[in-house]
């Protein structure tokens, strides 16, 4: 059963990975299957039902020229008097809203800002509901492209809207300062609440309010003549607006003949489906990467938290030839949008809130994209469950093992000293009773998470320390601080390994880490699928590979009952694998002549053994030596014992690979109880030609096996050596029958294997090191820098990317304290501890090893 579970686990994990990879790529490719054409779910929107009446385009032009003139007088701020006067002229209720930002990483540094907003009171209702049209004001000195035309359009829209009598919802015209900060402060003041850390953003007070805001449109036009309008949807923490609103925007744009794009990419019409797929995939990946950061890519993104559906319409200047979209068309688009929103009876609730868009008119629903991620996480869960099962199985099996079986098995100690020193119990199967205690596991989990919380609140101390001791800039001190913290974390295993803990504890820790990672990924995917997807693709495969160093002993199953041929009794004999079918469950020896039935039931998934020649052990460095043990194909009638000393030669026909602790010199025990071979089969090689799964072997009549004892051309003939019959002579000496050449060859092969395993181990550790969140951030930022500035020399790129990483870190911290963006918090408080747990597991030195060493 356990074997079954193990196998299942392995295959499932394997398939989960494979399916996931295929599935993620599938959506754009099989567009007809996974993506659907967008449609309006909410009928009340009645998009574009009424012909547009907007005719204030000349007014907008006048406003535009006035505003340009006015803004030149306010190089760094908003022309408040002008804006207030314009809104007041339209007999709207005009208000200003002041806010203050206390810079979270500075002491007493304050920034102030002021928003202007006007409320058009709906003639048809009692200010219970409201719509928002917001425009960020950008002064001429701003680094971002200007938004003057959108303010001009907003004013002309206000003028037009004011004269209409169909409004059932208040329309709030909002001009914000300081980009997203202004919108955040305004929203917080409107709802009188604080989203980020308290005391950071003082949202101020607000006098005028409309009703509950139902939807918001953020307008950013960079020029009077617009080439295309880009519809931005990604919001804070990856929240998206209701798909109906996005559809509405696209529909209105196409109705008025305004070119509209998503992620600045137009819908392509390639004949070649592969090209088309690639185009869509690129758009999709652009959305995924934007969404994964959790940073809104427009002011609309901050509305989502408050249950307000919002999008940004960003208009880019028409550069190439052709007729541009001017105020007239854009005004009609906005009019259509607001009339549709005005029609709404209920809040947006009909359509999707979770979707991905490969084009403007297709979407992938949550039902399509969640399963792959679910499978990725399921792999982690299955692996954890499998480990748990094995932990549970070992004692249970030995306890329930039939008494007679024990007699069949031999526990033979070669080294008498060792035997006397350690006693039988140390190597008996029974010794593997799960005797872990929860204390070290709990302590480890708690300690790592406390460390995570400490890191979360560390930026401020880092800044202080950096400023006082080295006079460092904020970003440098924070970055250095986190690098130091990362180094400490990397070195923790040295400390922790001395504490020890037995094998089971480490495994349990591994299980906890796996569960935590899976839970984290699933929880993140609930709000920010893209982030979860990227994190899962990065972290899941290595995490599946992680095992505590001695985990193999756990994965070692009890001897198959039906074979009663071989028992590996030492805790240090880690793995035995049927060479013929490594990676498969084998207990092939139903035939009595095949004395060497193997118990390598299901090598654990973390072994990564896929092919018969590769023995990828995890981590291989734990084993200085890799032994191949062979069993005599010419067994004596008595129970033979094979001692496999350290430098024993190879027994290439062997079906066993026995790995042992290097430090442990003598105790490589491989005992088997062999039945006398039937006469006439003396020369038959020990193994059946093919290894069979227990099911197949049991289903095959043993008579058939007897009938066709097959020798297998296993290896080059040079490997074919038989052990001397007398086991004792081989105990301490190299097999005499070896030729020198063979021995050398074996030696070389041994070293090759050793080096290979060593390399794998180092590679695994390096990989996991690279996955430290801080390092990952650095790498990602560096890659982006490299992509952005491909022509720069490498040292320049390095310099820039380091600077960018520092900036990114600081921005992440500020975002989390001002807006409540949780990417930084999750990365430091949960992901980093989780990483650390895996790192501990990876570098673990379980107690049992050291005991043997003694």
């Amino acid at each position: 059963m356990e074997e079954g579970a193990g196998k299942q686990e392995r295959t499932q994990v394997f398939y989960c990975e494979k399916i996931e990879i295929v599935h993620t790529l599938l959506p754009p490719h099989k567009a007809e299957i996974t993506t659907s054409r967008t449609y309006f779910s909410e009928n009340a929107l009645l998009p574009g039902l009424v012909k547009g009446d907007f005719d204030e385009d000349m007014t907008a032009k006048n406003y535009q020229s006035e505003l340009l003139e006015e803004s030149s007088r306010y190089p760094d701020s908003v022309p408040y008097p002008w804006l207030l006067a314009k809104f007041r002229q339209l007999s709207l209720d005009v208000y200003t809203h002041n806010f203050t930002l206390n810079y979270p990483l500075g002491y007493g540094t304050k920034y102030t800002g002021k928003n202007v907003y006007a409320i058009l009171r709906a003639p048809r209702s009692a200010s219970t509901e409201a719509l928002v049209l917001s425009v960020p004001y950008r002064s001429p000195s701003s680094a971002h492209p200007g938004t003057m035309p959108s303010i001009a359009l907003m004013l002309s829209l206000a003028k037009f809207f004011r004269r209409q009598k169909y409004w059932a919802k208040d329309v709030i015209f909002l001009v914000t300062e300081h980009e997203q900060l202004g919108v955040q402060a305004w929203l917080e003041a409107y709802h009188q609440t604080t989203c980020g850390r308290s005391g950071v953003l003082d949202h101020g007070d607000m006098t005028g309010r409309g009703g509950a805001i139902q939807a918001a449109i953020n307008l950013e036009l960079h020029a009077e003549k617009i080439g295309h309008v880009d519809v931005k949807v990604e919001g804070l923490n990856g929240q998206l607006p209701n798909l109906d609103l996005v559809n509405l925007v696209h529909r209105m744009c196409s109705k008025e003949g305004v070119k509209h794009t998503f992620k600045n990419r137009e819908n392509s019409n390639h004949r070649d489906p592969m090209k088309e797929w690639f185009h869509q995939l690129k758009t999709l990946m652009a959305m995924v990467t934007t969404q994964a950061t959790g940073i809104p890519n427009g002011n609309h993104g901050l509305f989502h938290r408050f249950g307000i559906e919002a999008v940004t319409l960003e208009g880019f200047e028409k550069k190439e030839k052709g007729s541009p979209a001017v105020f007239y068309q854009l005004g009609r688009v906005m009019e259509g949008l607001f009339r549709s929103l005005n029609n709404l009876l209920e809040r947006f609730h009909q359509s999707y809130f979770f979707y991905l868009q490969p084009t403007t008119d297709r979407y992938i629903s949550i039902g399509m994209y969640m399963p792959p991620l679910g499978l990725l996480c399921a792999a982690l869960l299955i692996k954890a469950f499998g480990l748990w099962l094995r932990m549970q199985k070992d004692p249970a099996d030995s306890a329930s093992a039939p008494a007679g079986r024990k007699g069949d098995e031999d526990i033979l100690e070669v080294d008498k000293e060792e035997q006397s020193g350690e006693g039988d119990g140390a190597y008996s199967v029974e010794q593997q009773v799960v005797n872990f205690s929860l204390v070290p596991v709990g302590v480890a989990v708690l300690a790592t998470h406390i460390l995570g919380v400490a890191l979360l609140s560390a930026p401020r101390p880092f800044t202080t320390v950096g400023l006082e001791w080295g006079g460092l800039a904020t970003e440098t001190s924070i970055y250095v601080g986190y690098v130091v913290a990362a180094l400490v974390m990397i070195l923790i295993p040295l400390l922790a390994s001395s504490i020890g803990g037995n094998m089971e504890s480490w495994t349990l820790l591994n299980i906890v880490a796996l569960l935590e990672l899976a839970t984290l990924l699933l929880a993140v995917s609930m709000q920010n699928f893209s982030l979860a997807l990227l994190a899962a693709t990065i972290y899941t495969p290595p995490a599946l590979w992680m095992t505590p160093a001695k985990n193999r002993s756990l994965s070692l199953p009890p001897p198959p009952r039906e074979s009663n041929s071989l028992a590996i009794l030492s805790q240090h004999t880690l793995l035995a694998i049927n060479r013929h079918a490594p990676g498969r469950m084998t207990s092939a020896g139903t035939h009595p002549s095949h004395m060497c039935s193997l118990l390598t039931s299901s090598p654990p998934a973390h072994c990564g053994i896929r092919r018969r020649t590769v023995l990828a052990l995890n981590p291989p460095t734990r084993y200085d030596l890799l032994f191949r043990a062979a069993l005599n194909d010419n067994p004596p009638t008595s129970r033979p014992t094979y001692l496999l000393p350290r430098h024993l030669g190879y027994f290439p026909t062997s079906s066993l690979w026995i790995l042992a602790r290097p430090s442990h010199h003598r105790c490589y025990l491989l005992t088997t109880s062999l039945r006398p071979k039937p006469a006439g089969h003396r020369n038959i090689p020990p193994f059946p030609s093919t290894s069979r799964l227990p099911s197949t072997s049991s289903s095959m009549p043993s008579a058939a096996q007897n009938k066709y004892p097959v020798s297998l051309p296993l290896e080059p003939t040079g490997y074919r050596h038989t052990l001397p019959t007398d086991p004792d002579t081989r105990c301490r000496h190299r097999a005499p029958s070896y030729s020198k050449a063979t021995a050398q060859r074996n030696q070389v092969q041994d070293w090759c294997l050793f080096v290979y395993c060593r390399f794998l181990s180092v590679f695994q550790k390096l990989l996991w090191l690279l996955l430290h969140p801080l390092l990952l951030l650095t790498i990602v930022v560096s890659i982006f820098t490299l992509i952005t500035f491909p022509e720069l020399p490498w040292d320049e790129v390095l310099d820039r990317s380091l600077g960018a990483t520092k900036q990114a870190l600081v921005f992440a911290i500020i975002d989390s304290s001002v807006y409540g963006n949780w990417v930084f918090s999750v990365a430091t408080a949960i992901l980093t501890p989780n990483w650390l747990i895996f790192w501990l597991v990876l570098n673990s030195k379980p107690l049992s090893c050291r005991r043997v060493k003694d």
Partner: protein, 571 residues
């Protein structure tokens, strides 16, 4: 729309219209129709009073009833009241406790039948009968107050309302009661929308047609146009010019009214009054803020916790006493301990009701409170019960002058039973408005009636003058006599009704049952076939020997081949 009942000793029908242009470009129109008469026990004849109402009031189930149907256009600063449906039933104690709500809802085409114990309460301080009511103490336990914020006011309500007017109603009948019926309509017109670019307005522009003449039954039939702003704002002219201009001084604020006595105008066809601006105004001004105005909103986000905040702005230099009444529906469980009153950043702690020594009579109590309490505040709170009782909160406060006070209380969002959701569940749930009652010391921006008067005329002078003179004098003459009178009272009662709120309760996905049904039906459909097959058909064993097929053939071939190969290898 406003309907008030009261028992009285007088008998007349008045129709009045007050028009007031506001600096912000709005025009406030206030119609008031007062039917009031003294019923002689000997003669059961009433000329003006509508029959159904007679029957209704004849049951003596209530002494006074105020019904307010409101549809708001929302600026508190305009001074117009908005937003809600309100029913006030004063029960005198005799008669059944059942409110005549079904009769009323039939009369007014309003869903008054939704009023029940779960949304009505008996406020102690805020409400008192208006109009001509004897000032006997009223036990507040006979008071019922409820709001139906979800109710939509439309012409459907207006038609039956109009039927109640004596000139429109063909069915006037007799009554034995002494009843006052006051019907009012308040409208605020937005000249920007109505005026099509110009700020000029006229009766025809606002109401679609001119005035056909006075109701022959009316004792008084007047149109008042507030021309106070003519001095300060953009000057305008009245066409035709007003036959009389009168001044009312209330609490130091002077109001100039142009009065058109429609009866004396001798209208032959249609009568129209227009306001024509002599110079084109460029910008609309801001309304000067009233002495007290309030603003209410929901705070917080998400669907776990929230709060209701009422902000009361006081523009008076002196402190004001107010009474704040909340009727919070049961599905919005509020926490009383979170009630926080912060005036100008300083928290006010309301005391217990018992800390003030009131006279036993309830009405004297409220008067006392308005007039005299200076350093006391008090609160009354009855927690709600799920599905049976709303949360009742009434706080009497003394607010400092020139202050902004925030009254906030926190609540939890709750799940309702799925049948309790309305069909448009995602529209949100309405929370009725709060009532803020104050006795203003000044008459600034105040257009309301005095508490002791019934007609607009009564705001012009002291009530005694009206009572003595109204029956003998032509109104114009009356104005001419008494316009110079100072109509100042001790206070001007104002009741502000705040905005109705809309909140989104956690709403289940109502398409889920549909999905479940679909899924279940699919399963049933799929299961039916095999089940039917199994139960109706007989299973019989088939001969195994005859089985053959390409697969089996291949299998045997392969095994044979394997045997051969193995043998060879062995050799």
């Amino acid at each position: 729309m406003y309907i008030t009942f009261g028992i009285s000793q007088k008998d007349y029908f008045d129709e009045e219209l007050l028009l007031k242009p506001l600096p912000s470009g709005h025009v406030y129109a206030y119609f008031q129709f007062t039917t009031l008469w003294d019923v002689d026990p000997q003669f059961n004849i009433a000329i003006c009073f509508p029959g159904p109402w007679v029957k209704l009031s004849g049951g003596t189930m209530f002494k006074s009833c105020t019904l307010l149907l409101q549809k708001g256009s929302g600026d508190m600063k305009i001074g117009a009241i908005q937003y809600l449906t309100l029913l006030l039933v004063l029960n005198c104690g005799h008669g059944s406790k059942k409110t005549p709500k079904s009769a009323l809802s039939g009369l007014l085409c309003a869903s008054l039948n939704f009023i029940d114990a779960a949304n009505s309460l008996s406020p102690e301080l805020t409400l008192r009968p208006a109009g001509v009511v004897d000032n006997k103490p009223v036990n507040s336990s006979y008071l019922r107050y409820a709001t139906l914020p979800r109710e939509i006011v439309c012409t459907e309500n207006l038609t039956p309302w109009k039927k109640l007017l004596p000139c429109d109603s063909k069915d006037t009948s007799c009554s034995k009661m002494a009843v006052e019926l006051r019907q009012t309509v308040s409208l605020v017109y937005d000249i920007v929308i109505v005026g099509a670019g110009s700020q000029d307005w006229s009766l025809r522009k606002l109401f679609g047609m001119g005035l056909g003449g006075a109701c022959p039954l009316a004792t008084m039939s007047n149109i008042y146009i507030d021309i106070t702003s003519n001095k300060t704002e953009t000057p305008f002219q009245l066409v035709p010019p007003a036959p009389a201009v009168t001044t009312s001084i209330r609490g130091g604020y002077e109001t100039i009214l142009a009065v058109y006595d429609v009866k004396s105008l001798k209208i032959s066809s249609m009568f129209n009054v227009a306001v024509v601006h002599t110079q084109i105004p460029q910008v609309f001004n801001i309304n000067s803020p009233p002495v007290i105005f309030a603003n209410r909103y929901i705070v917080g986000y998400g669907q776990e916790r929230g709060g209701i905040v009422t902000k009361i702005h006081i523009n008076h230099w002196k402190s004001l006493n107010i009474v704040y009444l909340e009727n919070i529906p049961w599905f919005l469980p509020v926490y009383f301990h979170t009630l926080k009153i912060v005036a100008n950043g300083k928290e006010i702690k309301p005391g217990k009701l018992g800390s003030i020594n009131f006279n036993p009579g309830m009405w004297t109590k409220i008067d006392l409170m308005y007039m005299n309490i200076s350093k006391y505040v008090m609160k009354q709170y009855i927690p709600g019960k799920e599905r049976t009782r709303p949360y009742y909160l009434e706080v009497a406060l003394k607010l400092p002058g020139r202050s902004v006070t925030e009254i906030s209380i926190d609540f939890d969002y709750v799940f309702l039973k799925w049948q309790e959701y309305p069909p448009d569940a995602n529209h949100g749930f309405y929370i009725g408005s709060a009532i803020i009652t104050a006795l203003l010391p000044v008459g600034k921006n105040y257009t309301g009636l005095p508490q002791d008067g019934s007609t607009i005329t009564s705001r012009l002078a002291h009530p005694l003058m009206i009572i003595n003179s109204v029956y003998e004098l032509n109104p114009i003459t009356f104005f001419k006599i008494c316009f110079s009178f100072n109509a100042t009272r001790e206070g001007y009662l104002v009741q502000l009704r705040t905005e109705t709120l809309i909140i989104t309760l956690p709403t289940p996905d109502f398409s889920m049952p549909y999905n479940v049904i679909c899924l279940a039906c699919t399963v049933v459909a799929l299961a039916f076939g095999p089940l039917h097959n199994i139960t109706t058909k007989r299973l019989r064993l088939k001969d195994n020997e005859s089985q053959s097929g390409p697969l089996l053939w291949i299998k045997t071939k392969i095994s044979a081949l394997r045997g051969v190969v193995q043998e060879k290898v062995l050799k």
